[in-house]
């Protein structure tokens, strides 16, 4: 794929620009395909600014250990150019690459002497302290600076102090003990900078109370100046100096210009179109066509249908029906009119939709070459089913459907074959696939991810992800009377972990909030409707307790293998939210559980 992409870069500038935008999207998915071609993205002097900026962006994305030298050298070149915006971007690019590769630090020390800007010095000293373990002569470097400590500007002094303390904590040697004493002394006695003094006192305090750092350390013999600054119990302040000074820094990640994966996938489905240039899904910028288009749709004019298409880009089903027809229309250019006639027929024999509530679309028609799959896990009479709907929007008849589930946290697998045999163009089929649990368990912490692969004889294998909602597993034997509820609670006394969450939105009471104010508990209203629904999903009511202004409702549920969930829903009179807490011997399931409860309440 790389050679054609590279060839596009010798086309006209405007085409180059569109290509670069698209390459940028491709690179985010598969950086390897074009990684060794990085040189083609080097900017030419006469490239217009929009091409240069895009090239820079791609170079940052393609930078790797192998080519970082070259890329940095190139960025350096750009940093001397005329265009201010571009220079700024180039300098930032250097920074962004630096975030990616902090691996080659040990050799910086030689350049320390050559620096004379205080900022540069301060940064260098910070680097020496931060990466002290990788720089062999870190102590010598710092020592030479400590000699001139009083003359250094304050920002260098601060960094010097921090670096020395860091170095000491990393390799506490004899020589360093002296060094640190010099540093601490200098920084408290010989300076009148309050920032520096304060920081020194804190370090001093930390070092003197840290048993690890000061085992044989003379600092103890000093009067810890902290005591007269903050007369508090040392034990309460006790914290390892290492924990504080060498605390893990937040990783500076470079997320700028990174798009979210689902958006990326959608953009990649729209390659070469405006959508890929704007980095927006089509419905974000295509406004609905004017009312005039409605009129033309009724006319015999071939444009009418087309117009409907442009207006309805966002609406999946209609688009899906039109797409194949359009695809057939475009290639044979002169048979244009014939193609349109076919096109006009399509809405007439619209596929009859199999009945049932709509299922979430997991494989949209535009990724599935016209095959659209919607599916959801469901429970019926204690049996778990995977409810699937296939819609064939392609031009060919599809047959030989097979389904396969990847290992998942609950070991969900198909209990029988898929009951879909043949799918004619524009037909749809709905089926219930019985499922079994604990068949192919995946190790690791529980996750709600369910990866599904569907195959047929005509198309490649389609993969899509579904979400396992825990409530489909709730079993009918989850009911617990009050006594057994308390019994279980005491039985699992230690094993039970209390997990709480606040369901942010007042899902269930949103219709009632307005009229029933504080006089009545929300739940007494909700109870009748919600309770039935929860019971239908095998979440059973056990007890209710009333506090001053809050109601607590207790429920129980059980999932296979007898894992109980004791649930507490709390509502506060006058406030719209619901708080949910659960006790379970398997606390790692709690996040999934909360998700399930939220879904149940939301319906």
């Amino acid at each position: 794929m790389a050679p054609p992409l590279v060839t596009l870069l010798s086309a006209e500038l405007e085409i180059q620009y569109v290509s670069l935008r698209n390459i940028n999207l491709i690179v985010q998915k598969r950086p390897t395909i074009i990684a060794h071609e990085i040189k083609v993205f080097f900017c030419k002097y006469n490239d217009p600014i929009y091409v240069k900026m895009e090239k820079l962006e791609i170079m940052i994305k393609l930078a790797s250990d192998r080519n970082i030298d070259q890329v940095l050298l190139e960025f350096k070149e750009y940093a001397t150019e005329v265009d201010v915006d571009f220079v700024r971007r180039a300098v930032r690019a250097i920074g962004r690459c630096a975030i990616k590769y902090e691996s080659i630090i040990s050799t910086l020390s030689e350049s320390l002497d050559t620096l004379d800007e205080p900022e540069a010095n301060a940064s260098m000293i910070w680097i020496v302290g931060e990466y002290a373990e990788r720089i062999d002569n870190a102590d010598e470097l710092l020592k030479s600076f400590l000699e001139s400590f009083p003359e250094e500007p304050p920002q260098v002094q601060l960094q010097l102090l921090t670096a020395t303390v860091k170095l000491f904590l990393k390799k506490p040697t004899e020589g360093l003990q002296q060094m640190i004493q010099v540093a601490l002394n200098n920084a408290t006695v010989e300076t009148d900078n309050p920032d520096l003094c304060d920081r020194t006192y804190i370090y001093w305090h930390l070092l003197s109370t840290d048993p690890e750092a000061c085992e044989s350390f003379y600092l103890k013999t000093f009067v810890d100046p902290m005591w007269w600054v903050f007369p508090v119990n040392p034990a309460s302040l006790f914290r390892s100096a290492k924990d504080v000074v060498l605390a893990e820094k937040p990783v500076i990640s470079d997320n700028s210009n990174q798009l979210d994966t689902s958006l990326l996938d959608e953009l990649r489905a729209n390659i070469a179109t405006l959508s890929s240039v704007y980095d927006k899904p089509p419905d974000a910028f295509v406004t609905r066509a004017k009312t005039a288009s409605q009129r033309t749709e009724d006319d015999d004019c071939p444009g009418g249908y087309e117009k409907g298409y442009s207006a309805n880009v966002a609406r999946q089903p209609s688009l899906a029906q039109v797409m194949p027809a359009l695809a057939s229309l475009v290639p044979d250019l002169l048979n244009y009119r014939i193609g349109l006639e076919n096109n006009a027929i399509i809405p007439a024999d619209e596929p009859t939709m199999p009945s049932g509530p709509p299922l979430p679309i997991l494989l949209p028609a535009y990724t599935g070459q016209g095959l659209q799959i919607s599916a959801q896990l469901a429970q019926q009479d204690g049996q778990i089913f995977y409810s699937l709907m296939f819609e064939n929007n392609s031009q060919i008849t599809l047959d030989g459907f097979l389904i396969q589930f990847n290992k998942n946290s609950f070991g969900l697998a198909a209990a029988g074959p898929l009951q879909v045999s043949l799918l004619a163009p524009a037909a749809a089929a709905r089926t219930l696939l019985p499922m079994v649990l604990f068949q192919n368990m995946s190790p690791g912490p529980p996750s709600s991810l369910l990866q599904v692969a569907v195959k047929n004889n005509q198309q490649p294998v389609w993969y899509f992800n579904d979400k396992i909602l825990l409530h489909v597993f709730f079993t009918e034997d989850g009911r617990m009377e009050r006594t057994s509820f308390l019994e279980v609670r005491s039985l699992f006394h230690i094993a039970l972990v209390y997990c709480g969450t606040k369901l942010s939105k007042p899902y269930i009471m949103k219709d009632h909030t307005a009229e029933r104010s504080s006089s009545m508990s929300f739940w007494s209203v909700i109870a009748e409707t919600t309770m039935d629904r929860l019971a239908a999903s095998n979440v059973f009511f056990t007890a209710k307790r009333k506090h001053a202004n809050q109601d607590a409702w207790y429920f129980s549920a059980k999932i296979p293998r007898g894992i109980p969930f004791l649930i507490e829903l709390t509502t506060v009179i006058g406030s719209p939210g619901v708080k949910c807490a659960t006790k379970t011997p398997n606390p790692e399931l709690a996040p999934l559980f909360f998700e399930a409860i939220e879904t149940l309440l939301k319906i």
Partner: protein, 470 residues
């Protein structure tokens, strides 16, 4: 497939609409005002060729003194739209005989409208091949008296001939060629035109400010800064053909490309011939080339369209023969004087020569006086582009002329910032030389009647973007 355009406008530099055509009614007729207001009259112009204003998106391109603007309101295919514009301009040029500018448009309104109707239908691009369109739109463009191109009125189709059936032409098995052509003399002209793109790095350390020193110290890459190395280098080539052949000939073209040669020696079970073979990175063919045969036998076989067409395009990055080496030394002597020495070495055969060599050596804006010494050609200072322009009309191979110049600068207190040193740029044409080393090994012509043909092959290498940083 998404549409490419809802409307197309041709504007002059002032923003007056020269000509326009609406293909779909989802954009208003006054949209071009938005373009004029929000793009042409602002600094936005030239910052990005794709813009959204309100519900509409604008794609624009500047060709000489004309802006071509495409307006859409749906999620259009931008790449296709730009390609359409490029092809349309090529088509117009072939009708007008060379130039495409405001005057050419004004002189050819009727023709352009006719063409615009033909080449795009309801926002979808149609056939843009000049050779085919010239069969049906037989109007000739009005040539500007200043147009230098010689008239190519001697077309294969005198207008008194019956116009063939358009549908048959495009939908037939060989859509690009008409049956029953007769020429007295059967000739094929083959031009291999290559353009070399080069980017050479600077020779040594440039001035750096502190941050860079720091960064470079961090990454320890001082050792990499070596005397001018090739940063990137590639050749984009095309094979242009002009066919004047009778009947339905079948042509087969053999090149010295690696895959083709290997395949051939495999088929004939003969060891591959020694000699230079080249590796084509990416090849694009004209629609007439039989791709199944290319995939199986790796030979380029085709039934050519009549007249002029581009048979294939290719790109090469490995083993490029650079025709010229440029060795610049630019010394800044204090703040008011500069010494420029440039040596250009031609590294092609001594019997060959390059034509129209131009070397542009940038100098600072505040240049006051220049003095030159050149061993060949002529040099002068062009203040408009801040360059020393050195021209050598005829540049033989294996020679190395030099330019040495002294530049005096006005010392300005304001311009404290160091001069950024743009790259040296070069233009040239080297006939009978291919930078890629590509050669035509054979061009065979078969026709039922078995006539004899005369084949002419030409090679030429031009400078694409030939930049040497200094």
């Amino acid at each position: 497939m998404p549409v490419a355009a809802s409307a197309i406008y041709f504007l002059n530099l002032r923003g007056d609409v020269l000509i326009n055509r609406l293909y779909r009614d989802d954009v208003g007729g006054n949209m071009v005002d938005a373009f004029r207001m929000h793009i042409m009259q602002t600094k936005e112009l030239g910052t990005c060729p794709v813009r959204q204003i309100g519900g509409c998106s604008f794609f624009y391109m500047r060709i000489s003194n004309v802006y071509i603007v495409i307006v859409v309101s749906s999620n259009a295919n931008v790449a296709c739209a730009f390609k359409f514009v490029v092809e349309a301009v090529a088509l117009f040029k072939s009708y007008f005989g060379g130039a495409f500018d405001e005057d050419a448009i004004r002189n050819n309104f009727v023709l352009i409208y006719e063409l615009l109707d033909e080449i795009m239908d309801f926002g979808y691009p149609q056939n843009l091949s000049p050779e085919i369109l010239k069969l049906y739109i037989t109007q000739e463009g009005v040539r500007s008296p200043f147009s230098s191109k010689a008239s190519n009125a001697q077309t294969a189709y005198p207008s008194d001939k019956p116009v063939p059936n358009a549908t048959l032409q495009v939908t037939g098995a060989v859509g690009w060629r008409r049956e029953g052509l007769v020429y007295k003399k059967n000739e094929v002209f083959l031009d291999i035109v290559e353009s070399v793109n080069l980017l050479m790095s600077s020779k040594g350390w440039c001035w750096l400010w502190k941050l860079f020193l720091l960064m470079y110290a961090l990454y320890n890459i001082n050792h990499l800064v070596i005397a001018g190395s090739v940063l990137r280098c590639d050749v984009t080539g095309k094979i242009l053909m002009k066919c004047f052949l009778s009947g339905m000939p079948d042509l087969k073209l053999g090149l010295n490309d690696k895959i083709g040669l290997e395949k051939e020696s495999q088929l004939k079970s003969r060891p591959p011939k020694s000699g230079k073979t080249i590796e084509l990175d990416d090849v694009t063919f004209h629609q007439c080339v039989n791709l199944t045969r290319f995939n199986s036998e790796k030979t380029v076989s085709f039934v050519p369209p009549d007249g002029e067409f581009e048979l294939m395009k290719y790109r090469i990055t490995e083993g490029v023969n650079l025709p010229f080496r440029v060795l610049p030394t630019i010394k800044e002597l204090g703040r008011t004087r500069m010494e420029v020495n440039v040596k250009v070495k031609s590294v092609f055969g001594a019997k060959m020569f390059a034509l129209g060599v131009v070397i542009k050596i940038p100098v600072p804006k505040q240049t006051a006086k220049t003095s030159f010494q050149v061993t060949s050609g002529r040099a002068k200072y062009q203040a408009a582009i801040d360059c020393l322009v050195w021209k050598i009309r005829k540049f033989p191979g294996q020679t190395e002329p030099t330019l040495s110049a002294e530049v005096e600068l006005i010392s300005t207190m304001a311009e404290k910032k160091s001069w950024t040193r743009p790259p040296i740029q070069m233009e040239f044409q080297v006939p009978m030389f291919t930078a890629s080393g590509l050669r035509v090994r054979f061009l065979k012509v078969w026709e039922k009647s078995g006539y004899n043909t005369v084949e002419w092959v030409r090679y030429i290498t031009k400078a694409g973007s030939y930049e040497i940083r200094c």
